[in-house]
């Protein structure tokens, strides 16, 4: 097993602080409408084993803005359907001439497997319940547009933390940059062990406690099918954890509301909150493009 190639982005956990800050700085200089063709003639494969709207389209726009050629490979309609292994798919795409692979995979560690066997950068676009580093970076980018710094910032992450790769990446990043993070939800979604993920994390079951004095409210999608097998029912979840306009008043007046999407209106948040002045949900999607431009430029050694 080899090390992942330089420029790979497998998770936030392994990144150094200066790499995180460097990527955020680089993203600020990226403008998809006035981009230099830094990645001209580079071939970037988007290998998606799972459904995606935001991540896939924004990686594609980011790559094309930088002049790269993108090749989209989906698990359905490719040899993956015929039983080709992940590693062999990786070797094949490398042989086709891929200069980098952006991969989304349902298994935690899927991107690591190909990264450890290929000599080209691999970018994790979400692996199982593990990490979603580009989402965490675009969230940090968005927060910095509204808040001066992460030092002392209070962030409440509410919802199904256990199944969320977004939450894991966000916890690593926010903790590293000095924010205080409160994880909130029922035991099934926020086990006590979640607090061990990074320094400065705290778990609470009470949304009021999570919201009081918070600067950032980060909501996560709640999957109805996951609630099915659990003790807490849908109505119960809504009653205890749904973000409503009334609840949002508990947070700081200038608090922002974030959500990685896809959102389910009426479940984890109301339409009033989603469409309200404090919501930056659409802005997050917008910021995904420059952040992913920075990730791709760094991956292919054009981070100047």
């Amino acid at each position: 097993m080899n090390k992942a190639a330089r420029g790979s982005l497998l998770g936030i956990e392994q990144l150094e602080d200066k790499e995180i800050l460097g990527l955020l700085k680089l993203a600020r200089r990226m403008n998809p409408l006035k981009a230099r063709p830094l990645l001209r003639n580079k071939r970037i494969v988007l290998l998606f084993y799972e459904a995606s709207t935001r991540t896939r389209s924004s990686f594609e726009v980011a790559a094309k803005s930088l002049g790269a050629v993108t090749i989209l490979v989906l698990s359905s309609g490719s040899s993956i359907e015929k039983g080709e292994s992940l590693l062999d798919t990786g070797y094949t795409l490398r042989a086709v001439g891929a200069d980098a692979i952006v991969i989304r995979h349902p298994s935690a560690g899927g991107p690591h497997l190909i990264a450890h066997h290929l000599d080209i950068p691999v970018i994790n676009a979400g692996d199982g319940m593990h990490e979603h580093p580009s989402q965490a970076l675009l969230d940090a980018f968005t927060i910095l547009k509204h808040k001066k710094s992460f030092k002392g910032l209070q962030v409440a992450i509410i919802g199904d933390i256990f199944h969320s790769r977004v939450a894991r990446s966000a916890c690593h990043l926010l903790s590293r940059l000095g924010a205080k993070v409160i994880l909130c939800g029922p035991t099934e979604m926020v086990p006590e062990v979640a607090a061990t993920l990074a320094p400065g994390l705290r778990v609470t079951r009470h949304i009021e406690e999570a919201l009081r004095g918070t600067d950032v409210v980060m909501l996560l999608r709640v999957q109805k099918e996951r609630l099915a097998g659990q003790k807490i029912g849908l109505q119960d979840y809504i009653a205890r954890y749904q973000m409503s306009a009334a609840r949002l008043k508990l947070a700081k007046r200038d608090a922002i509301v974030m959500h990685p999407g896809p959102i389910i209106r009426g479940l984890e948040l109301t339409s009033e909150v989603m469409d309200g002045a404090q919501s930056v949900v659409i802005e997050e999607v917008h910021n995904g493009v420059p952040v992913r431009m920075a990730i791709l430029a760094r991956a292919l050694g054009k981070a100047k």
Partner: protein, 443 residues
């Protein structure tokens, strides 16, 4: 065709001279010479006091001479999965690891659930270089429902029954298995895992599984089954329960309960520990290294601490490898999809010496006991596990101080799925003797 007796006569007599004998069953820990003749131990004597003579000599100066090691838990993959391992390659690895006897698990393809398959495993055609003692399936096809014919399996040579790889979850099936086992003096080996709680899990449940985003097996999923089994065993006079590859602190508590003097009147509860469980922790899986994926999984530091205490204080009966070879294509996949199991025959003694003896100061005599008299008594392997006069001439000679580097690529096993590749270890097998014949000699 030579008769068995004539075949034994063909083996030259062998004098192991100048070594330090550790034979825990005989309470010997002293410089002794050992004379082997016709496949048996002929004489044990103080240095230069041997009366008998031998055709061949083995210089054991500076080395430990011990009864041949017995591994209660190996997967040699035959019948049916010879791309992973064969009895010939697996027993060659066993000999290199100092094991003179291995007990094979029945979860092959097909499952070893008939006397014909037990006999097939024991046939000389398999090319085994150490003794092979089959453990047969406890239920048909190891489906956990209809019991196999214990008596017929035992007559064919099975030394125990198990559904290893799967647990026997149904109370009534387990009760009946223990009762039939009690009548035949046959041990029921349990892979303790409540699979209703571990579906889709690929490692131990804890901070590491949470961090890696993997579903974790709780310690309770093991302990609850051991607890239930000990309760059942205590209700059945002369029942014999053996807990395979025990891995958690909670399960050890249940075993201790089963071993209390009062309980011993009715039943016999034993357990084994693998080298990887006393060496590694869940966090060692690193970035999804599938050579650290096995079942039961690597556990927490608290569990390993409890295991070390139990190895030292006598609660544990045997060190067993759970040698589980897999082909590269079954391991070079996503962690969640990778096969459970690692190889272990060639590293067991060195890990025991490096970790248990040198790091945790467990005496060498106790370690030898865990490889010899301990496992022999778990399945009542007669005339093995000690070098008493008249016993089988199975001997392991090792150098407890030799430093070496284990290289998976040089393994005798057909598969190389080990987490210990490149490890610097102390303690190395020098010569392995099976039935008076040299089965392995270090280069």
């Amino acid at each position: 065709m030579l008769s068995a007796k004539n075949q034994r006569r063909e083996i030259p007599s062998l004098l192991i001279k100048g070594g330090h004998l550790i034979d825990p069953a005989e309470k010997i820990n002293a410089p002794m010479d050992v004379l082997l003749r016709e496949g048996r131990v002929a004489e044990i004597a103080l240095p230069n006091k041997m009366r008998g003579s031998a055709e061949e000599k083995l210089d054991a100066r500076g080395l430990i001479v011990a009864p041949g090691f017995i591994d209660l838990h190996v997967h040699l993959r035959e019948p049916g999965q010879s791309y992973k391992e064969t009895i010939a390659t697996g027993t060659a690895a066993a000999a290199a690891g100092g094991f003179t006897s291995v007990c094979t698990m029945p979860n092959t393809a097909p499952v070893v659930d008939t006397d014909e398959w037990v006999a097939w495993l024991r046939s000389p055609e398999r090319g085994a270089v150490v003794n092979v003692f089959p453990i047969a399936a406890a239920t048909r096809s190891s489906r956990g429902a209809a019991l196999t014919d214990f008596a017929a399996l035992q007559r064919a040579g099975a030394v125990a029954v198990t559904d290893d790889g799967k647990p026997i979850l149904d109370d009534e099936v387990m009760r009946t298995a223990l009762r039939l086992g009690a009548e035949l003096n046959l041990t029921v080996v349990q892979h303790a895992e409540d699979t209703r709680l571990t579906e889709g899990c690929s490692m131990h449940e804890g901070p590491t599984s949470f961090r890696l985003g993997l579903h974790g097996m709780s310690a309770a999923a093991e302990a609850s089954v051991v607890d239930r089994d000990v309760n059942l065993a205590q209700q059945i006079r002369e029942s014999r329960l053996h807990v395979a590859h025990l891995s958690t602190s909670e399960a050890l508590k249940a075993v201790r309960r089963g071993k209390r003097a009062k309980a011993r009147v009715t039943c016999r509860v034993t357990c084994e520990i693998t080298p990887h469980h006393f060496t590694l922790l869940d966090e060692d899986v690193g970035e999804y290294n599938t050579n650290f994926k096995m079942n039961p999984p690597l556990r927490s530091a608290t569990d390993r601490e409890a295991i070390l205490v139990a190895l030292a204080d006598g609660t544990v009966d045997a060190i067993a490898t759970d040698h589980a070879p897999h082909a590269l294509h079954e391991k070079q996949v996503e962690f969640e999809r990778a096969a459970f199991g690692i190889t272990g025959l060639e590293t067991a003694l060195a890990l025991a010496i490096t970790k248990l003896h040198r790091e945790h100061k467990i005496p060498l005599t106790r370690i030898v006991e865990l490889f010899t008299a301990g496992p022999a008594s778990v399945f009542d392997l007669r005339s093995r596990g000690s070098l008493a006069r008249g016993n089988f001439a199975d001997v392991t000679v090792f150098d407890p101080r030799k430093r070496w580097t284990f290289e998976a690529a040089k393994s005798r096993s057909l598969s190389h799925n080990t987490p210990f590749d490149g490890w610097q270890l102390t303690g190395k097998v020098v010569t392995t003797i099976v039935g008076g014949k040299i089965a392995y000699r270090a280069d």
